[in-house]
Point group: C2
Chain length 310, copies 2
Amino acid sequence: MIGVFGANGFIGRRVVERLARSGEAVRAVSRHLDAQLVQRLSGKVDFVEASLADPIAMASSLVDVEIVVQLASTSSPGLGNKFNAADIRDNVIPHVEFLQACVMAGVERYVFISSGGTVYGPTTAIPIREDHPTNPISSHGLTKLTIEKYIQMHGHVDGLDYVILRLANAFGPGQTFRKGQGLIPAILERHRKGLPVQVVGDGSARRDYVFIDDVIEAIVSSIQAPRGQKQILNIGSGESRSVIEVLAGIEEALCQSITREHVVSRRTDVDTNQRDITRAGKVLNWRPRTRFNEGLVRMLKEDYPSFLDR
Amino acid sequence: MIGVFGANGFIGRRVVERLARSGEAVRAVSRHLDAQLVQRLSGKVDFVEASLADPIAMASSLVDVEIVVQLASTSSPGLGNKFNAADIRDNVIPHVEFLQACVMAGVERYVFISSGGTVYGPTTAIPIREDHPTNPISSHGLTKLTIEKYIQMHGHVDGLDYVILRLANAFGPGQTFRKGQGLIPAILERHRKGLPVQVVGDGSARRDYVFIDDVIEAIVSSIQAPRGQKQILNIGSGESRSVIEVLAGIEEALCQSITREHVVSRRTDVDTNQRDITRAGKVLNWRPRTRFNEGLVRMLKEDYPSFLDR
């Protein structure tokens, strides 16, 4: 059985649906499960409402699980470095305890979604390969890196298989603006409300935007890869786009112009972020298949159909 | 003023004495202060009994401190991976909170004693340079590495100067067997009690043993180095010795033979450990000056004079 932890998030929901559609035995675990999701997949997925911070609930949710897909996270890149100790307490410690529970439960493989945008820190080479130094400059990046290191330790000491996916900026249908994450839903949300879009600095900061279904296929390939994996892999589109270019792409998709205002820069952001995805191609036989503009249109059709009717 | 935190340990005491002898203004902070140490240095050193886990006490102990030497640690390499979450809770979190307090207090430089023996993990190249991958396989190594990463983050984001010393196995006078750390005092203690010395595996595991006063001079050089340091430096003898060779060295210094017994190997140990100390030589104009046998004799004279009388 595949256990998906953090099953109610943007990526989690889509992973669960994709696995259920393929007829896989899936247990979907989350602190809060969405009633619609549960209803839609009832009978096909074993839903468990439990928190990563509850060791007993976690241990029981691991029964019969061979492969864990870990997406649960309490930290948020937007909060900067104001809550470093709280991030460790609420995010790293429960995760480290969960890892030990996985080892004790006999889990064979651990698929972890890490942060390609924050674990590397200031870049010394572009595009960034997986062996680039990892010196995060944000609490979010540090918690992700620390968890990566604990996973690698259990890989070495306890023989746990792992695939750590250092994910670029995923976007697509189902991405909500709730948590202050995601440039594209933030732009669409401001535009929907008739507010100007806030552009940080001069809008030249480049990110790698990868379509959600390409991410899902990378996770599925990580689940299906042969035994003996100890992998850290960049997952992204392999391209980078500035905020200004993203805005232009959205304007094109909408056939509308978007008003904007410039705001001061956040300090802990890494300015350019283009990852080398060659390794994931070799190891997982995976590559991103959705072009940026195609992904945008699919997102608009599903999440903002009214925009396209205008 | 120089603040020495963890001032009551093997290294801490000797740093405090060395700095006081040079006429430096020193504040010595520890959870438990030794009455003899306090008495011997009274009037020369500002002693504060306070725990790293007490944020208010730490903030007040940082008043007027420009340079922090951080030696406090609750984790122990000998405990393996049984207490991963506790190690993070009791060691990493107080340390991360302390770092933020240092930044708020305007501390200019942070000198941190890290673990050259555990932060690198399985070695891919010998001798180990500072840019070697860091994938610890013990909880102790992971806590040290995590703290290093937080220091580097504050270096980048807040402009904090830092010198991280990745220390080999320090030995010398004042090293006690209390915590189960240190091969040489362990050997001497067993021998003193008339018990056979326990040799792990076949005794071929090599470590880099550096004399305490060479370590102290590396710390003093780190304190005195010009502004603008963002350094990670290996500190060791630059040589490695097997357990069998250490035993032979002690037998030679004592002119006595030592009985031994072989026990099974601990799993999380890294087997060979020789660090490249070139960088510390360049940055700090430092080199180890005490030969292994010379250090052993000095240790025996101070801590085990009865052995030499026989």
